[in-house]
């Protein structure tokens, strides 16, 4: 009996184990899921936002697409997502795999929105050599330059910002750098808000102009902390410009601790609770002191009535 149990257990283990091995080799995707098409167009904007999401969510394991610098995990290393043998899959297949995950690949079904996932797929598709309508991430056709500079001009009247990216060529001439994506970020309470807009690529003279949102709250004077940078460090290193600009809507900050409330500091206790507490303490203790005072009278009463 015991042996039978052991055999069954062993068989069961083998079964489960072989199952997982099979799973590791083939990653079956339902036919219906395969058919899905990316509903978002491969515009430079979408590709660019897909790249940003990729850098945050995927890059730590998969490395840069086509660079094969993925994390060397065992037994199965992450795939180079820019490799052609990966990109032969349909959009729907990739989408399904990102959603469900397998083994060390986490399921992103709940952690990344569908839109963001499609953006990533659009970004990955930009590396696809077989794709007929191929739109690369804005290609850089700039001369080799040194001393790259980022200049920022702020127009407070119409709330626009002009960034100029330039470098010095070998001939010693300062030229604008074209087609570089810039990020315009506003510091908020918990991180940066991207206000770059639809098309934050430098034009042929190295300029990019963005419209600052008209309704973004600033501090009491309407000041906000701007961070303008070249989105991709790969081109010219970490190039950024920090500045305090007066483009926000002047706003008096509301601190919940400023109002009288149960959660407030002692100075901001609700009036009724102060009155109740202090009133109660005063009432009770005045009676106690009255009694203590009356005690002094007791010895005198002995003499007066005797």
């Amino acid at each position: 009996m015991k042996n039978t149990m052991k055999n069954i257990a062993a068989l069961f283990l083998i079964f489960v184990f072989s199952g997982s091995v099979v799973n590791a080799q083939g990653w079956t995707v339902p036919a219906s899921a395969k058919k899905k098409q990316n509903p978002y167009e491969a515009t430079s904007k979408n590709i660019s936002s897909g790249k940003k999401i990729y850098n945050i969510q995927c890059k730590s394991c998969h490395g840069d697409p086509t660079m094969a610098n993925m994390l060397p995990l065992a037994p199965v290393a992450p795939t180079d997502l820019g490799a052609q043998n990966f990109l032969i899959q349909s959009d729907g297949e990739i989408f399904y795999k990102v959603n469900k995950g397998q083994g060390a690949m986490p399921a992103f079904e709940k952690t990344i929105s569908d839109e963001d996932k499609w953006m990533v797929i659009a970004f990955l598709r930009s590396f696809d050599k077989n794709k007929k309508v191929k739109q690369q991430v804005a290609e850089v056709k700039n001369p080799e330059v040194t001393d790259v500079k980022l200049e920022l001009n702020v127009n407070e009247a119409d709330k626009t910002m002009l960034a100029k990216l330039s470098g010095v060529t070998k001939k010693g001439k300062r030229v604008g750098l074209q087609g570089i994506e810039m990020s315009f970020l506003v510091k908020r309470s918990f991180g940066y808000l991207d206000v770059s807009g639809e098309d934050p690529y430098t034009n042929e003279s190295g300029d990019v102009q963005i419209q600052f949102p008209k309704d973004l709250p600033g501090d009491r004077e309407g000041q906000v902390n701007m961070l303008v940078k070249v989105t991709d460090d790969a081109f010219y290193g970490n190039l950024e410009e920090k500045r305090v600009v007066t483009l926000g809507v002047p706003t008096d900050p509301v601190n919940p601790l400023d109002e009288r409330a149960m959660w407030g500091t002692r100075a901001n206790a609700p009036i009724w609770i102060i009155v109740t507490f202090v009133g109660g303490v005063l009432a009770i203790w005045s009676v106690i002191f009255l009694v203590l005072f009356q005690m002094i009278k007791l010895p005198k009463l002995a003499k007066s009535k005797d």
């Binding site: 407030g264 609700p270 507490f277 009770i284 203590l292 007791l298 009463l301 007066s304 009535k305």
Partner: protein, 446 residues
């Protein structure tokens, strides 16, 4: 209380009452030994507290989950027991119930001792007791902690006054009669008796003060235990988040206090040979009172556990299942059955209300009351709402450490020491009131 109707004939004279009650204060064999024992216990456990003070609260079993452990459960218990002073000498006293006369002082002594040490227990629970005054300096009016500190201080003051004021005539007798007392004690009697010689004016004046305090202590007594319950009920935690916690604690306090009083009555009756004063009648009446308050407490327990147990809403269900048939079931059911239900069943029989049986039953009730507080405080703390992962093993269990148990023993020894000392220097049964209630003429010489 000379306005009471003259009572039945008695063979006691004023001289005999004085002699009977004052005698044990001067001659009491074995008392020194008892005090030495208590001081030894306090010293040994004081060393445990020194370790806690030196190394911090990490030496206790308390961790991030259970940050209110044995100390706070013990604190709630002490506050509960101290409420007997308000029940006996104030509520029953104002109702002019005469059988409480010989035991009212014991009740006040218990109240003063327990509430004084209850305040101290909070300080013992602090990692930085040197910062205790910050509660007063920086305390927020919104915080039940500030109310608790305030109301305990007030209750201690009024209880001490209610111990001393009705004792003034007796102290005048002590001053005259206790010729062998030490000079310090004579001085104490002299000061505290406030020149009382029982003139009608003094009598009237004194009883007016006492009645004022008796009325005053009712709201304070209710407040002290209601506020203690709010320390718990003002949170959203399962098991504490209930609206009846205030009256529930007050009812439980009456149970614990009455049981403690019966035990103390028994020991004073036997050791001080006060059979003529703390009679079977007092035990019988206290037995009935204990049944009454136990029934009220049982009623609150039904509401506290049956109603949430019927609904079993999310969060509460884990807590209640732990209590009903989980890890806490033995402690929970033992405190309910041995500390409440079985005593009720036994004490409705007259023969169980005799001094010895009722004292033994009261020991169970008191122990049950202590464990009940433990069950109220700790299981709830073990179920935090935050879903934290990879919690260290010692967060999710709580076992009081040896240091914690020692410091708790210290608090009990301290209570017993205070009761011992107070009953050594003050007459435990009111001499003048007892004589007056028996219609015996009282004479206090200047």
């Amino acid at each position: 209380m000379n306005d009471l109707p003259k009572q039945k004939e008695t063979n006691l004279s004023f001289e005999k009452i004085k002699k009977d009650i004052l005698h044990p204060m001067q001659n009491h064999k074995g008392l020194e030994l008892w005090i030495v024992f208590l001081i030894t216990v306090i010293s040994v456990c004081g060393w445990a507290y020194y370790i806690q003070l030196k190394d911090g609260l990490g030496v206790t079993g308390m961790r991030d989950y259970v940050s209110w452990g044995l100390y706070i459960a013990n604190f709630v218990f002490f506050v509960a027991v101290s409420l007997v002073g308000m029940l006996i000498s104030s509520i029953l006293g104002l109702l002019r119930i005469d059988w409480i006369t010989p035991i009212s002082r014991i009740a006040e002594i218990i109240a003063v001792a327990f509430v004084a040490v209850a305040g101290l227990v909070i300080v013992l629970d602090m990692g930085r007791p040197d910062r205790v005054l910050n509660v007063m300096i920086h305390g927020r009016f919104q915080s039940p902690i500030l109310w608790d500190v305030t109301v305990i201080t007030t209750y201690l003051t009024v209880s001490a006054l209610l111990l001393i004021l009705p004792m003034i005539p007796d102290l005048a007798i002590c001053k005259k009669e206790l010729t062998k007392a030490s000079p310090i004690m004579k001085k104490l009697y002299n000061i505290l008796s406030l020149g009382y010689i029982n003139t009608p004016a003094q009598h009237k004046h004194l009883h007016k003060m006492i009645r004022t305090l008796m009325v005053l202590i009712v709201p304070i007594g209710l407040a002290i235990h209601t506020v203690t319950s709010w320390l718990f009920a003002a949170t959203l935690r399962n098991g504490w988040d209930t609206t009846i916690f205030g009256p529930y604690f007050v009812a439980g306090a009456f149970v614990a206090g009455s049981a403690a009083l019966i035990i103390a009555m028994y020991f004073f009756r036997v050791n001080y040979k006060l059979q003529d004063y703390i009679t079977d009648l007092q035990f019988d009446k206290m037995g009935k009172l204990l049944v009454a308050v136990c029934l009220v407490y049982l009623y609150f327990n039904l509401n506290e556990f049956l109603v949430p147990g019927y609904k079993m809403k999310t969060g509460d269900d884990i807590h209640l299942k732990e209590l009903f048939y989980g890890n806490w079931a033995i402690m929970f059911w033992a405190s309910q059955l041995l500390g409440n239900i079985i005593p009720i069943i036994l004490l409705v029989n007259k023969k169980f209300r005799k001094p010895l049986p009722i004292m033994i039953i009261s020991l169970f009730v008191l122990a049950g009351a202590w464990f009940k507080r433990y069950v109220i405080v700790i299981p709830t703390m073990l179920h935090p709402h935050l879903p934290i992962q990879n919690v260290p093993e010692n967060f999710v269990h709580y076992y009081p450490s040896a240091i914690e148990i020692s410091v708790t023993v210290l608090s009990f020894a301290l209570v017993l020491l205070i009761i011992t000392v107070l009953s050594k220097i003050f007459p435990v049964v009111p001499i003048v009131e007892t004589a007056e209630s028996k219609g015996i003429e009282v004479k206090i010489e200047a």
